[in-house]
Symmetry: C2
Subunit: 210 residues, 2 copies
Amino acid sequence: MLTLYDFNGAPSPRRAKMFLAEKGLEFKNIQVDIRSNEQMGEAYRKINPRCTVPALVVESGEVLTENSEIAAYLEAQYPDKPLLGSTPIEKALIAKWNWRAEFDGLMAIAEALRNASKSMKDRALPGPRNVKQIPELAERGQERIAWFFEDINEHLKENKYIAGENYSVADITTTICVDFAKWVKAAPLETQTALLEWHDRMKERPSYRV
Amino acid sequence: MLTLYDFNGAPSPRRAKMFLAEKGLEFKNIQVDIRSNEQMGEAYRKINPRCTVPALVVESGEVLTENSEIAAYLEAQYPDKPLLGSTPIEKALIAKWNWRAEFDGLMAIAEALRNASKSMKDRALPGPRNVKQIPELAERGQERIAWFFEDINEHLKENKYIAGENYSVADITTTICVDFAKWVKAAPLETQTALLEWHDRMKERPSYRV
C-alpha cells in the first residue's frame, strides 16, 4: 500500500496526488499541518529530513520526497497510462515542458510568495535551514509569472496539451502553476484564451479535484 | 547524425556533452560564442528561440534545448549504458539526486554568478528577456553552495555514486556543480573528503574531459 504525507491545499503534494489520481492508484493519506510548522518537528523530520511535503512511502518502505522522484518511480512501477511519454521524442518534450513549468512557473510563484509573505519570514526557501526573505526577488517572481503565462499561452495556441498531443505530467505541473499563482494574486490575462481554455479542460479531469 | 550547438567551457552544454560521451555517441559540434552574445543573435534565435546552449538537433530534425529534455531523449533512443536508472527505485533515486543537484547546486551557483558578475549586468537569468541583478541573491547563492557541498559530502559517506551503486546523470550534474562553483570562487572544504574523493574518481572517466 502506498502512503502519502500530504497537506491538503498545498501545491507540492497536490502534484503527487494528481499523478497518483491519473494513474488510478489508491493510497493512505496522512496530513502534516504545515500551517503550524508540523513539517519542521522531530516526528516528521524522521520521515523526511528535508522537512517538506509530499513524502510517498512505497511498497518496499522507501520514502520518496521530491516530485521528480515520485513521478519517476510511479511511471516505472505502474507503466499503464503513461504520464512521462512513450516515444523518445514524447519523453523529451514532456521533460522539457515539465522543467519549464517548474523553473519558469513554480519557482517564480514560490519566489513571489516566500519572499513577501509575513508568515514566511526566514522561510524564503523550503527545507531544514532558515533563509531570509529578499523583497526584490518577490517582485522579480511576479514579473516572471507574467512571462510564463505569456509563453505558455503562445505555445497552447498550437498544442492541445502542454507537451503536445497527449496529457502528461507537464499538464499536472502547469495546472498547479495556474492555481498556485492565485496565492500571490497572479492569473492569466483575459486575452490569454488558449491558456484559459486549456485550464478549463484540465478542471474537467477527475485528477483536478484532489 | 546528432548535432550539438555548444560553447566549450560553459557548464550547461558540458552536461549534454558528458551525457553523450557516457553513451558513447558521436555528434557534430557547432560552437556558439556566448562571450560575444552570439546566442542572442537572429541566426541562433532561429535554432533556439530561448537563446541558450546547448541545443541538440536529433536524427528527425527536432531541436532539443533543455538538459532534462536531451537526457530523456538520449536515454530512450539509446537505452544501452543507462544513465537514468533501470529499476523503479533506481530511477526514483536518480531523479531525486539530479533534481537536488540542479536546484540546490547549479541554481545556487548560477545565482551567485549571474547576480554579481559585471559582464552579466541585466543577464541575471538566462533566456531571451533581460533580468536585472539582485546582489542579495548572489550572497544567498554562495551560502547555498556551501550547504549543497555539506549535504552531498554527508550523502557520499555512504554512497559510491550520487544516486547509489551506479554512475548516473546525477553524477554528471554534481560534477558540473563542483567544477562550475570555481567560477564564483567556491569549492568543497578540505574536510569534505567523501565529496573530494568522489570528484577525483569522476575526473578519471573519459567523459570528464569533454
